[in-house]
Structures are given as structure tokens and as C-alpha cells.
Point group: C2
Chain length 589, copies 2
């Protein structure tokens, strides 16, 4: 089935629909049209680093960690694995009548926005700050997801077109001002690659305005650039409830019908949200023509035909036994190992266990499943925290002592404790005193770096104010790093943190990102030399935000390795490995 | 140091204190008196099933599960283990200056209230519905905690004196009316045993009134019964902020000073809360005499001397390496195995793996750490969920498939899913279809059965309305139990549930309670026949609440195995084991 065939079948099918039916199909939760044997279809599915939100699936490292592997072949394998599991899940769920949200074959991934500012809470969904890297990995991911067979294995979606990169709190009303140069060299480049080289089936518009135009209804972006200049032939979907923002927050239009008209005219085919529920009303008011609705409806059914949703395909044999296989878990392990970036090593790593009787494992992320999973994650069939990985991998005769160390962000774990210092600090110091070496596992999780939470698809969360660890973790790090024992810091975040103190005092620092459900094993393998760290930073690790422009400033001046004029703590591309490569590789299994 | 010596030293020390100093020592967070070399001491610590809330410690099954073992020797070993860890933690924390809440040696456990009604959210903290069992296990636990050495190893506290057993929502104002017969035969019996046979060092008053008197200031309970009749010589502590209830909710007094006066006069020595901050004001108003304050202060310092807090003791050598040892973990495993009650078995258990290629593990509690821990828990150094236990213990060549099945209580895991049916149901059915046998793990956790949450020491939670599983779990159970495959139901709750459908349709039912941090391994061992289930129900499992009196009715008529006239689903004391005992025991390691 080539595009021409798919489009012809789409045109023929859409031609049989009433206006009402056509309009209904432009919503993310498109209802069935029984008389035409069209089942309902929910377009919203996620697969940022594994099939997400629908149930059990293999979980890969968060996108920023996958990017740190700088490995486009790996990315394609991951994409392929995801679409295998996605197909398998789709087959099983649809067979049992579940065609609801997060069960379809249209994945709203990858996120190829540029991680412009380290404060952005969603930066860890991206492939970092370099447009070339983002584009290259995006293309590999898309190829993996979509495959190269007769039918699309699944549909990928490059988002959020374009420029989108915080602040989360004002994303529904913000107008990002970007120069022509920054647009071309930074904000559009990866999208262009995904369209031209990746053949991505869908593009999602952003919440914000770009130089005055709402991204989801931007002539400049959707018509002039995406379709006319780049020749994009897939469909465009709005970010969720982004079209409502056009009248409610951007105030570019006055009514919901005007927003529907503007978005549809500019080429937004599919509405995640409820604005296109007013399409018929917009037709009644003379704002929207049936032709325009037909055009988008044909585009959407073209995708459905390309996916083979009305045919038998070679993918139909995939089933639940193809989800979470050992091979897929092995790929997740490989990705996690490749993702880890060794930022400092005084020679302590790989850990020599000679003379080591007791290993202390300390910190709020040490035994946290949440620290493994990033955001836009699925449900794993197995989780291995860093503590569990070390308990499993360290020899039996080594005692592992554990302290939570502090709450992830609250001053105390227990509410009635004195506010003067953390109620796990004395325990952490105790563990240090008894240990020969200390693994200090700090960082964030999706509750601290995440997404503005008004669309029902995320907890309340958002950006970072600065690069500092939460107060209790700073207190913990000061105490542990001064304990007199060698300390290895494992930082589990999706973004640059102020690691200045750790850089001064730790024996080693491993940036583990959010390494996926099994990632604790991989952290342990890297620490113990069963794998060599090979990740490189896909973002600049600044010392702090003092030398950066305002978060709201979308000029790239003095941002990212390409334009930053200061001295970063660790530059883009940085990452150590173990010295004696021959020895190290010999121990890789 | 005998009681007489401790009291003399206490009297001598208290004699040197000013009135202000003495009054300050009657609060749970007693400040230091530097001029008398008295360090601060926070009386509030918890150890219901392991040292709780202070940090890392070995976690045993929740109290109701320990009770199901019907094993008083085990209870004493557990108590001894807890006080070893408690001492070790106290030594380490106090050495490092942390003498805050949850760091002391006065443990406000056990809870020997009678589990009068299956709706009570805190029932799982108790040893069940039988006063004799509660008293016997209470005594063993107390002996384990307190030891029989020169000094108290730690101080236990029998709570909540008396009658206390819900409803949580009205506990601060409720007047429990209990007959003389029920008081003697049911509500007081276990306390009497704990005092007379257990020599318990402390008793905590309840929130509610008992026959008109606030329990924490009841002449009948504290003076006439506890001290005069039973000869109790330890100290009495109020439940937390219970004294405030006397004027604010019970309205037995008009002012905070009057509440302080009443409680102190009736023999409540220690105030968890802030009411005794008004003791000096009560003295000023002529309500309270210095003699009365002195008397309670001497009692409290007697406990501190009995604990050896002002001496060197043989316990001083205990340290962090004595916490969470392999031996302690082995004891937790033993307790978990003994706690499990086999409610039904058509012969499927122990699971024969002949011809089994795929095991399905389904349910919201299958991979839940929260389902392991009950309430009043510590932080474990390792958690093994039921899914993890099965993954670890099943042979490598058996595929384990997993589905969360449903949210613990919400209609859907993902917010935007259709309300029509659960968004994990199709996946659960899929797992069933691919499995040779299904392990369905349902139940509650401390967020669903717990404690009225106004004292800062618990999440908002409370009683059960009835015995039914939350709606999504009922839907899941109906679907899975009808899947055509043999289904073993593992129920993780701390109380009786409506298991009627499971009893009809499941191949086997295992009541696993909240089995402690490592309990998933023990569930797996029991399912796979590496351990034989030997627990017996310490509470009646009713079919429903239809035949029970109102929750607020404190008459024992038609409650518990002793007075219930109906036919329960599973009676008190019920519990199966595996048929071929010789074979089974041969496989116990």
C-alpha cells in the first residue's frame, strides 16, 4: 500500500460520509461509523521510551538518556521494539473491544524540541540541545516505529511543532519570539529532518504561539514551512486542548468556532481536545466549509489505511507474548548502559571490592521506582532500583547498608519531625561511618521535573527554578560528601543539575538519567565494571543559571554548547569511560 | 535496677527540678534540662511490626498477620528483634544528636484493642477479635520488647485503653457504650493480661469516651481499673491530641486547663499533643497542684531510669550493623510464612508446574510495595512484591505475564479513559488467555484501610464502608474468575473481605495480609509449596455486613466468633494446610 493507494481508499471512504460523520473523525477520540464498518479509533497513544500509559510494556531509558547513547542504530532498534509491542498490544486490546485512549497505533512520540534551557521540566522528554542530534535520533526512532514494510508498523509523531520549550506555567498563553536564524538553525531543524528523512506520519503543534501565531494554527509553521516547503504529506494533530487556548488564552480568536476555523484552515487535521466538537457549529455559522473538513478527514483516513487498519497485515500475528520478552529486556539493559555518563572518576570506578566489607547506599532515589521511569512511561513487569541492583550484584559477603537519607524534597520524611534538620540525616551519617565506600543516589523524578498539569494527563508538576537540588538533598550531599569515606554520586535527573559540590568532593559522579524500569541493575553493572560507561552529555551541564538568559527569552544567544560563552561544569558531549579499555571490554558480557 | 531503685533515682532527680521543668517533662517532646544533665527526650516512637517511621529497619508482617500465626514464641522473638533494632537505632541516632520523634526507646505498641467490627480501618493493627489471643500475643510481644535484663531493653505500650475500635471518623467525639460484661470479657481482658502478665511499662488512653468518660481521663479506667485493681505501676500516655478532644470535641470540660487538670488527676502522665503546655497556666488558675505534676514526672523518669538512659548498659554496644541483619530478615520470612491463611484449595496448591508454561500474575496488589507494608511501618532495605517473588522463584523456563488489572480503587488507571470499564481489563483478559494458571492479587493497602488522618501521623484514610472490594477490583475479579483458567486468589488485606465470589470460583484463596517488606517471596514460597501455609484466621471472615450490628454499636452481641449467630464465610481459627504434610515439610528449607 503506497501513499497514493491509501489516499484513494481514504477518499473513497470519506466520500461516503455525511458532514457530521466527517467532522466526528477529526477528534482524537473518533467514534465508530457502524454503517461504513469503521470502528472507533482513539488517536492518542504515547511511546516516548516504551509503549506508555496503556499497560505493561518494556520500558527504555527516558529520551534524554537514550540521546546520551549517541547511537542512532540503538534508537532504531528501540523504535522497532516499541512498535512491535505497540502492535501486539493493539491486536490484543482491539480484539477484546478496548479501542480507548492509549490503545491505538498512533504514537505521539518523539519529542524533538530543543532542550533550550535546563530549567524546562519537560526537557528530559527530548534528545537534548543539539538540533542535529535531535534530528538524527528522531529519524532513527521514527524509522523504528514506522518500519519499512508494506504498511506502517505504527505511526510516529514529531512534536511539539515548534519552538516549544517552557516555561510550563505559561505555555497556554506564551508567545515565543524567535529570530529567523534561531528558527532555521535551532528550532525547526530537527523537525525538518524528521519530515524529510524520517517520513514521519504526524506532526503535533505546540501550545505556545510562535512569533505571534498559535503554533497549532500557524500559517507560517503548518502551511508555509511544513507542507509547502518541506512537502509533509501526513496529518497534523493539535497538542491536547491547545486549540482551546487560541481563544481562551492566546486570545487570537474570540470564540471556539473561530479557533476551529483557524486551526483547520491552517492545516491542523486532528484535535486532541474538544474544540473540533464545534466544527459543525462553525459550518453553520459559515466559518468552515465542508471541503476543508473533508480534506483533513481524508488525511486522517490515509494514515489509518497506511497502518493497515482496514486490511489484514503481517503484524496481525503479534500478540501479548511479544511484549516484555527477554530480548526486549536485554535491549532496555543495553540502552540503559549506553545512556550513563561518567562525569567524574578519581579512579575509584570500576569499584574495586578488595578490602571492602560494607557498602553504604544512601539517598532518596536509591530505592525509588519513580526515579527509574521518567515521565510518559508505561507499566513495567519488573523494576530494579539502584539499591536492588547493588544488592543483587555485589558479592554475598559484602554487607549493604541503606538509608533513604532524606525525603526527595520535603524537609523531613515524617511530618512531625523538627524542621531544624532532616530526620534521616543522622541515619545517613551512621551508614557512612560503617561503610568502606558510599553510593549516594540523588536527583529528581517526574513529580519534580515534569509538565504543567492541566490536561488530565499528568500530575501537577513543572519546571525547575534553578539547577540546585532540593534543600534536603543539598543538606544530605554536604553531610555525606564530607563523611571521610569515598563517595560515588549517582545523579538521577533528566537535566543538568548543580553538581559543583559533588565535582569537588565526590570520588566519582555517574549521571544515570531516568534509566528505565530495570535501570538499577545497569547502574550497578557500570559501578562494578561489568559494563563500561559510554554515554555523552546531550546537554550542557551548567554550574548554575546565573550566566543564562531569562527562561522566557527564546533567543539562543548564550544558550547550549553552540552559543554559550561561559564555562560549563561539564560540556555537551562530555563523558568519561574506564581507562583500561581492553580490560573493561573484556568484562563486558 | 529494680523498680524501687529506679523510682528513688527518679524522685531524687525530679526533686531538683523547678515546677516549670517538671511540667515540661510531661510532654511527649520533653526538652533538655541542661543544668541537670538531662537530654531532650521524645517519647513518641512506633514499632507495631518493626521499628517504624524512624528509618531503615526490619519489617515484619502487619500485626493481624502476626496474630494469624497463633505463635506466641514467634511473637516474643519478633519483639526481641524489634527492641534490638530499636536500641541499635537509638544508640546511633542519639550519638549523632538526633533525639527527635521516632528515635527513642518508648514504643507505642502493641495495639491490643479487640477487632470488634470488620469495617474498622485500624483493625489490622490488632491481634484480632479474641481477647485471649490478643492478651497472649501482647504479652509475648511486650516480653520481647522489654526483655528480662537488668534494664528495660525498650518500653512497650498497650493501646488504646480501652474499647477503642472505630469508627475512625468520629473517634474524637464518640462515646462508646459498653456493658459491664463486655468490658470485662472483651474490652479490658487483653489489657489486664498485658499489665499483669506482661508487665507492660506504658498504657495509652484512647480517643473516645467510654461510658461517658474520656478514656484518657477516665477515673474508671485509669484509676479504679488500671492502677487500683490491676496494680499498674508504669506510666500512662494520652493518644495524640486526645486531651484536646476533651474540651473541643467531647466537651466534658470547657477549657484546655480543665482538660489538663482532669487528665492529670485521673493519672494520664504524659501528653502526646499540646494540652500539657497549659499545665502551668492550670497551676496559676489553681486547678492543678505541683504535687500532681511531680507524681507524673516521677513516673516518667522512673521509666527513663528503668531504660538505663542515664547509665551505661549492656545494650550500648548495639549499632547499625545489628539492624536488618540476615537473621532478622529470616525471622521476618518465618513470620510471613506462618501468617498466611489458606482459605480454599481445590488441590491446585502447592502449584504443580507440570505442563505449565505460562503463569499470569494479575491485580493491583501484585506488584505493589504498599500492599506489603500495612500501616505504622518503617523503611525496609528491600521489598519483594508478590510478582517479584514469583518471578524469582518460578523456574526460568516458565514465562510470567503481568497485568496491573485495574487501579486499586479508581475506575481507571489513566484519567482520560472511558468510565465504562477499567482501562486494564482487556489486558487482564489477555493475560488470562495466554496463561495456564492465574495468580490474582487483590486487596487494599493503608490508603484504603487506615486511620482518621488529622494528627499529622497518617494519610487521609479510614474505615471500610462494607466488606466489598473496590468497584474496579470487583469487575476484575468477575472477569478473571470467569476466564476458564484455574485462578488462585491472593488477598492482601488486614481484615475480612467479601470473598464469596472467590470462594465459589477460585481454585484456591490465600489470605496474605500485609506480609511485610519481603512478603512477596513468602507468598511465592507458599504457592509453590516451599512452605506450607499454617496461619489461622484471628478474625471471623463474614460474608458481608448485613448480619452485623451497626458499626457504632459497642455491644458484642452478634459480633466475633464468640457471639455471632450467623454463618460466616470462614470462621475464626480457620485455615487449611497442604495435605501431604510429610512431603511438604520435607521441602521446607
Amino acid at each position: 500500500m503506497n501513499l497514493k493507494q491509501a489516499r484513494e481508499r481514504a477518499e473513497a471512504l470519506v466520500a461516503q460520509m455525511t458532514l457530521e460523520e466527517k467532522a466526528s473523525q477529526l477528534r482524537y477520540n473518533a467514534p465508530a461509523i457502524p454503517r461504513l464498518q469503521i470502528p472507533e479509533y482513539n488517536w492518542w497513544n504515547e511511546s516516548l521510551h516504551g509503549v506508555a500509559r496503556g499497560g505493561t510494556a518494556t520500558m527504555f531509558p527516558q529520551a534524554i538518556g537514550m540521546a546520551a547513547a549517541f547511537d542512532s542504530e540503538l534508537m532504531q532498534e528501540i523504535g522497532d521494539c516499541i512498535s512491535t509491542e505497540g502492535r501486539a498490544r493493539y491486536n490484543e486490546m482491539s480484539k477484546r473491544g478496548d479501542r480507548d485512549i492509549y490503545k491505538g497505533l498512533t504514537f505521539w512520540s518523539p519529542n524533538v524540541n530543543i532542550f533550550r534551557d535546563p530549567r524546562w521540566g519537560r526537557g528530559h522528554e527530548t534528545y537534548g540541545e543539539d538540533p542535529y542530534l535531535a534530528g538524527t535520533l528522531g529519524v532513527s526512532f521514527i524509522h523504528g516505529i514506522q518500519g519499512d514494510g508494506e504498511y506502517l508498523k505504527a505511526a510516529a509523531c514529531a512534536k511539539h511543532f515548534a519552538v516549544h520549550s517552557g516555561p510550563e506555567a505559561i505555555r497556554h498563553s506564551f508567545d515565543a519570539k524567535a529570530s529567523k536564524k534561531d528558527m532555521e538553525e535551532t528550532y525547526l531543524a530537527a523537525f525538518e529532518t524528521c519530515v524529510k528523512d524520517g517520513g514521519v506520519e504526524a506532526v503535533m503543534g505546540a501550545y505556545n504561539r510562535v512569533n505571534g501565531e498559535p503554533a497549532c494554527a500557524s500559517k507560517t509553521l503548518l502551511q508555509d514551512t511544513l507542507r509547502d516547503k518541506w512537502g509533509f504529506e501526513g496529518h497534523v494533530v493539535s497538542d491536547c486542548w491547545a486549540l482551546r487556548d487560541i481563544h481562551e488564552n492566546h486570545k487570537v480568536t474570540k470564540t471556539v468556532e473561530e479557533s476551529a476555523k483557524l486551526a483547520l484552515e491552517m492545516g491542523c487535521d486532528l484535535n486532541c481536545g474538544c474544540t473540533y466538537e464545534s466544527l459543525l457549529s462553525a459550518v453553520d455559522k459559515g466559518l468552515v466549509t465542508e471541503e476543508l473538513i473533508t480534506k483533513s478527514c481524508v488525511r486522517l483516513f490515509t494514515t489509518r489505511f497506511l497502518l493497515g487498519l482496514f486490511d489484514e497485515t503481517s503484524f496481525d500475528s503479534l500478540g501479548f507474548l511479544d511484549v516484555g520478552t527477554k530480548e526486549h529486556e536485554a535491549l532496555a539493559h543495553r540502552a540503559a548502559r549506553e545512556s550513563m555518563v561518567l562525569l567524574k572518576n578519581n579512579g575509584i570506578l570500576p569499584l574495586s571490592l578488595e578490602g571492602v566489607h560494607t557498602v553504604g547506599v544512601i539517598g532518596p532515589n536509591a530505592n525509588s521506582r519513580k526515579a527509574l521511569i521518567g515521565n510518559y512511561h508505561g507499566t513495567a513487569q519488573r523494576y530494579v532500583t539502584v539499591l536492588e541492583g547493588l544488592q543483587e550484584k555485589l558479592p554475598e559477603d559484602i554487607r549493604v547498608l541503606y538509608s533513604e537519607g532524606c525525603h526527595l524534597w520535603k524537609n523531613n520524611v515524617e511530618p512531625l519531625s523538627k524542621p531544624s534538620n532532616s530526620d534521616r540525616l543522622a541515619e545517613a551519617k551512621t551508614v557512612c561511618d560503617y561503610s568502606d565506600v558510599v553510593i549516594l543516589v540523588v536527583g529528581l523524578d517526574e513529580t519534580l521535573e515534569g509538565e504543567e498539569g492541566d490536561t488530565g494527563n499528568s500530575d501537577a508538576s513543572g519546571d525547575k527554578k534553578d539547577l540546585r537540588f532540593p534543600g534536603p538533598q543539598r543538606e544530605l550531599m554536604r553531610a555525606v560528601l564530607d563523611c571521610g569515606k569515598p563517595v560515588v554520586v549517582v545523579n538521577m535527573t533528566g537535566s543538568a543539575m548543580d553538581l559543583v559540590l559533588a565535582d569537588q568532593k565526590a570520588a566519582a559522579i555517574l549521571q544515570a538519567w531516568y534509566p528505565g524500569a530495570l535501570g538499577g541493575e545497569d547502574v550497578a553493572d557500570v559501578l562494578l565494571g561489568k559494563a563500561a560507561p559510554s554515554g555523552k552529555l546531550p546537554v550542557t551541564f551548567y554550574e548554575n543559571t546565573n550566566d543564562l538568559p531569562d527562561f522566557e527569552d527564546y533567543s539562543m544567544k548564550n544558550r547550549t554548547y553552540r552559543y554559550f560563552t561561559g564555562t560549563p561544569l561539564y560540556p555537551f558531549g562530555y563523558g568519561l569511560t574506564y581507562g583500561q579499555l581492553d580490560v573493561v571490554f573484556a568484562t563486558v558480557d
